[in-house]
Point group: C3
Chain length 418, copies 3
């Protein structure tokens, strides 16, 4: 189970740095992630993990292996991607300001690659621009990048050379550098997400990296809703969410129920006295954005890209516009001619969520909307997940749906009173 594995990883990762001092200060129950004496809150990479390292003569040595593999973007929807260590985005690299790190990169792809450490201050020869900084890593080769971290913040890694194809196929990862001072910028929960856009024609499994604008699959950490995991936090916790975007499109990430501060970019933290409060943060391409807030509002809160097509899955773009049109048998007729054809509903599209499984759609794709909530269909897809804020939590596994206190849920009223 993804979640359990993640917790194991979190525990392992926690060895990185120290103790549950902060968690303890919050008076949290002892069954919360152990953190084994860690002094820094480890990064939570839902659907992913942090990259392990070994110490070699004072250097933290990591190992990335670039390769091709199949990843489940959602149950029944398999995509052939390029990534690192079997996942796309690749594992999160976590280190501490001041660390000397060595990152081995083995290329198991059919073409040459390189790794650029986006936003990391390092020597020119370690910068990973193919041909400019160093030779490319040919298939089968392993290269070593080594540098001392003299900053902290939210960086990324990705190839630099033939990027349209390699990044387009999924080669990317987050690189989080914790501050030297464990007191600085501390939070109780620290999530990373990479937002990506793909063009995967229904019925196929291989993204088309030549696509520049007309994407149809929108993922968070390589999953699409309803297969995305929720962020689970306890009421009162200070939360950071770090988002990286290496797609071709800006993603305005919107959080419900809370305002937050924009607290960092790929150039590091924004000093508190310069920050702006927002409810949505635009994440431009080729950047990271950190946000911070206190989760003071219990409930199930949507967290999603606010471009309405980005919370849809495939099959949403090539519909003829039939709103207001009685389609009669036309849809069936067209369907015989055009494989995978589904007509947009004549009364709107809200009926689409329940179609999955009821009609033979194209193989290996996913309905454009999905997800069942406590009150029925959600009608969302793609870059959508939830923040679940609970007063009581025994662990960070999905606690199920929120039970709103009586009188705090929208209610149906007798029409005459309206």
């Amino acid at each position: 189970m993804i979640w359990r594995r993640r917790n194991v990883m979190a525990a392992a990762t926690a060895l990185l740095a120290g103790g549950a001092r902060r968690a303890a200060a919050q008076g949290g129950p002892p069954s919360l992630p152990p953190a084994g004496g860690a002094e820094r809150t480890p990064i939570t990479t839902l659907h992913g993990r942090s990259l392990p390292f070994v110490m070699k003569g004072g250097v933290k040595e990591f190992h990335l292996v670039a390769g091709e593999f199949t990843q489940d973007f959602a149950p029944g929807f398999k995509v052939k991607v390029w990534g690192y260590n079997g996942i796309s985005p690749g594992p999160t690299i976590e280190a501490i300001e001041g660390d000397r790190v060595r990152i081995l990169v083995t290329n198991k792809l059919p073409e040459a690659t390189s790794v650029h450490w986006h936003g990391v201050l390092l020597p020119s020869g370690m910068d990973g621009v193919s041909g400019l900084s160093a030779p490319r890593i040919k298939p089968g080769e392993t290269y070593a990048y080594e540098f001392t971290l003299r900053q902290h913040g939210t960086q990324m890694y990705h190839p630099h050379g033939d990027e349209m194809l390699q990044i387009g196929l999924g080669m990317m990862g987050m690189f989080v550098i914790h501050p030297r001072d464990p007191e600085e910028g501390g939070v109780d929960r620290d999530f990373v997400w990479m937002a990506h856009a793909w063009k995967i024609d229904p019925g196929t499994s291989r993204p088309n990296p030549a696509e520049m604008t007309d994407f149809n699959i929108w993922s968070l950490n390589g999953r699409i809703f309803p297969a995305t995991a929720p962020m689970v936090v306890r009421t009162g916790q200070r939360v950071r969410i770090r988002v990286g975007n290496l797609s071709m499109v800006e993603h305005p990430m919107h959080l419900h129920g809370h305002h937050f501060e924009l607290s960092g970019t790929d150039g590091g933290p924004i000093p508190p006295e310069r920050r702006w409060r927002m409810a949505s943060v635009q994440v431009p391409v080729g950047t990271t954005r950190d946000i911070e807030f206190v989760a003071d509002n219990p409930g199930d809160w949507a967290y999603h890209c606010h471009k309405s097509h980005h919370t849809m899955n495939a099959m949403s773009h090539n519909f003829p516009n039939l709103v207001g049109v009685d389609q009669g048998e036309a849809a069936d007729e067209i369907g015989r001619l055009v494989p995978g054809y589904m007509a947009m509903g004549s009364t709107g599209m809200a009926g689409m969520e329940s179609m999955a499984g009821m009609m033979p759609g194209p193989r290996n794709t996913i309905p454009m909307m999905g997800g069942a909530g406590p009150y029925g269909a959600l009608g969302m897809g793609g870059m959508f997940t939830t923040l679940k804020v609970r007063d009581q939590l025994a662990h960070y596994d999905d606690p199920g749906w929120y039970h709103a206190p009586p009188g705090t849920t929208a209610w149906r009223v007798d029409h005459k009173t309206a």
Copy 2:
């Protein structure tokens, strides 16, 4: 007449809160909008209005009715949209920090809907995410949302579920919460605009919500230039413009003749000491942006999205590129084959503005550029209007064109002197 009706609405809206104290302090003429003792400057929603409310046991009760109707985006250009209370964007909800509000929503659409209060801090069950927060509002039903406002700033409302279709067809509105302290953040004029993008094939009247990138109609408050009303202010007034964007595309809104401060987001005001000055403000999707400035420069000033295709109306994208080509009779020939075909001018497109009415174009659309100014054709369309700054104003109706003082207008010079 739109403007007169707006003023009546403004007067009514002013009852919301108090007096013309601020206007009086500015020494304005008594014929300026009465404001009937209001202490807060009411919002001006050009082409729209603020939503009335009734007090019921200490609660401000508003009523939104979602439905389908036809709206004139410009004279002769009718569009079948979905909106609230007969307009798209729907009426602006105005309330005051600390208010308890109840908003009834009646669904007269053919499919279920919900209303999410974007950026408003409220209980989870009132958040309006279909299926997650509460059941959807089925056709014919009325739901009540009720919450206490514990913030101020510029928020929005829109459906949350089947958003691609429902927002795409026009379901959206602004939700402005005034500060509890009437002294805080006060301005003399306070405008709201919603920027939206539509795909309406020439000759049709129903927007295509499946379109993701190739839009062709760009509106401000549901109107397109030259049918957009100007913002009229008196020299020296402090002005706020609040813009919401729920389209699929970023809109960089540019104001001529003034610099302004970015003063707020959907997370509320930015403290004055953190603001940046700008001449254009990017309004990302799914956010709001407030700007503030003193209108210290008399004149007629363009205010528009700076993407050059967004100040065009329909019919601008499918032209063959004939710049520099003598088209002879080819255009007529092609026109016989392709309904609605217009060739791009061989010397450019500036001749297009005067074509309206001179040639039989497709029905129910609008030339791609239009608007006649004091010095001839403007060559603009779409997301374009003006800020009219005047030293003397008897009212806020359109004062006509600006008469520039002698010597302050660009002049034609004898070529030999050049």
Copy 3:
């Protein structure tokens, strides 16, 4: 040679303002750009130049001539553009806060035009909006715009009317106003770039201004990599880069090896205590963004738009997706049917860089990637150039490739050690 000519221009431009006081204070070698007593660092417009002026009765008189001409975007790739004084973007206008400027504009285009001074505070009649501010400049006419500069910062100029076509074809330029106080905001190197997007079908030379989203050529100052010149600076120098964007697309400009502060917009400088540090800066459409940093990291550093398709040249979008497919003779077969067809490599696209000259592609275009670095092919194109930081510099001509100190370049390791 472009570089030499630029230096002559820089010297000429330096007469604008004074002395090499600042350069001297840095202890730079005497062979650095003379600056002839200039007190302000002149703007460096790579591939372009600053517009000369003559003093007439206390007024700085400039002269722009709008026209059509052919420009080499790269060797062998000629594009028919519209611009000013024979270049697109047009010459950079440099002036000083407090200056009275008169700008003559002669129209040698086949259609009427105007010039709007984006972000410049001036009288309404000088604002250059066709039809609104003043009459349009008809072909053959010359107009004068005159105003006093009461601000400083990074502005732009461009037509306002039929903008989709005129800006789309290249009519734009930067307008830099230096502070009155030469001590304010001083830097040692001050670069301007205009980022633009074009649709130029392979084999043609005329951009298609009707294109709204599917661009295929991405330029910096009218050049595309590998034909873009590097920015050359000495270690320790304070550097400003000003970028203007009048294309249809946001460009996130990323600098390697350094963090920078976002120091200005089209509304002028951002006060130091309000700035954010970044490694990439989003440059929205219709705005300018200034960044500042100390070049403290010697090396060859990529500087580029981070949208991966924007560092590609033409021919990248219409490929069938053949990754993982053995194409055998199919590509040749298709090539006979589709002129200019190139199949995407079955192992990726990295082999594409070396194809230039090896196969008969369409005439008048450029391979989608190119550029040879010290370690082989770069695999980049379009909006890409470098910042070259050197401890020792005799002049600002391209110093060639960086020689990294031993032990600071990524190295190939024996696979068994990995």
